[in-house]
């Protein structure tokens, strides 16, 4: 290591504040760039799943409705 101690690395002869704050903001921004789309992907897949469920419910309702209709006709 270039620095003599961990404290010297943190302090960087007075420039530590600038270097470490730059790093913190950069890492936060970069993490946001990869984590936000992962959450978004989950939401999108759940939305598709809800669409499928809704369609299946509608189909089932239509089927039972037509079944009960034919039942009434036979009476």
């Amino acid at each position: 290591m270039y620095f003599e101690s961990f404290e010297a690395l943190l302090n960087m002869s007075g420039h530590g504040v600038y270097v470490w704050s730059s790093l913190a903001v950069t890492l936060a921004a970069m993490l946001w760039l990869v984590i936000a789309p992962l959450f978004k992907q989950r939401a999108l897949l759940q939305e598709v799943n809800r669409d499928i469920q809704r369609q299946q419910d509608r189909e089932l309702a239509a089927k039972t409705a037509s079944l009960s209709d034919s039942h009434e006709e036979s009476n």
């Binding site: 002869s13 730059s22 950069t26």
Partner: protein
């Protein structure tokens, strides 16, 4: 004449055309489904490599590289500032080229890449501006100066924001894509201005450290970690672009059968 009838029958039956197999990769790349499935396989490996390269470059640059004779340790900001600024500009080219391909070949996949590239480029431009400002304080005595390099980078940020805003300015996805692509292409004028700003005007910003045409103006012990960081940022950019593009594919193809099959397969397994 059997070869002729074979040819006709295959054309009439509508089978896969064997005209240009060398172009198949281009058509495959144009298929959102193919891209979604393949990129899902690439992502874990690409992310791992990006993480390892970035971690190596950061530790090397921040803890092991020697300090600058004039700037002291504040120069270490270069290891995030320069790669971010590099990718902010490369990313703009990627976005503009994707837009051009979309305009010329009406390739939807290409428009999706263009849309995905805009927020990533904007964040990288912000990182370059922010780290530059923080670096400016101990070096120039000011966080911000209206210097040609800094101003042209700020214009780059506005161009990215413009491309993002245009995506939501139209009801029709096609019209939004075309308008964004045209703005992206017109905005490429700004890239050589950013590059040359330190030569054309008398700027406070230091001239380029790395040039393709000559040896780097810094010692190898300082330059090697910078090179590693630039490679790391490129890898990170690829990961981010793939992630954002995959979401755009899902958003636009959510009514298609392949996306539905994907979701039911996941829910069932």
């Amino acid at each position: 004449m059997s070869w002729l009838s074979d040819k006709f029958s295959s054309t009439l039956s509508g089978g896969p055309s064997k005209e240009s197999p060398s172009w198949q990769w281009f058509y495959r790349l144009g298929s959102p489904r193919w891209f979604y499935q393949r990129s899902g396989q690439w992502l874990p490996w690409l992310s791992l490599v990006a993480l390892l390269v970035l971690a190596t470059g950061l530790v090397w640059g921040l803890a092991f590289a020697p300090e600058d004779a004039k700037q002291g340790n504040s120069f270490r900001i270069i290891y995030i500032h320069v790669p971010a600024a590099f990718l902010a500009q490369s990313g703009y080219f990627i976005m503009a080229i994707a837009g051009a391909i979309g305009l010329i070949w009406k390739m939807k996949m290409s428009y999706m890449v263009m849309k995905a590239a805009a927020p990533i480029g904007a964040v990288l431009t912000f990182i370059a501006l922010f780290t530059g400002a923080v670096w400016g304080k101990p070096t120039w005595g000011a966080y911000w100066v209206w210097d040609a390099r800094i101003t042209s980078m700020l214009i780059l940020l506005f161009l990215y924001a413009g491309v993002m805003a245009l995506q939501y300015a139209y009801h029709s996805v096609d019209a939004a894509s075309r308008a964004s692509a045209i703005l992206a292409l017109v905005g490429t004028v700004n890239i050589p201005i950013i590059n040359k700003s330190v030569d054309w005007w008398y700027t406070l910003h230091q001239p380029a450290t790395i040039k393709l045409t000559s040896a780097p103006s810094m010692h190898m012990d300082m330059f090697m970690p910078l090179l590693v960081m630039i490679v790391g940022f490129y890898l990170f950019y690829a990961v981010a672009l793939i992630l954002h593009t995959r979401n755009e594919i899902l958003r636009r193809e959510r009514k298609t059968s392949w996306v539905r099959e994907l979701v039911t397969a996941k829910a069932g397994g």
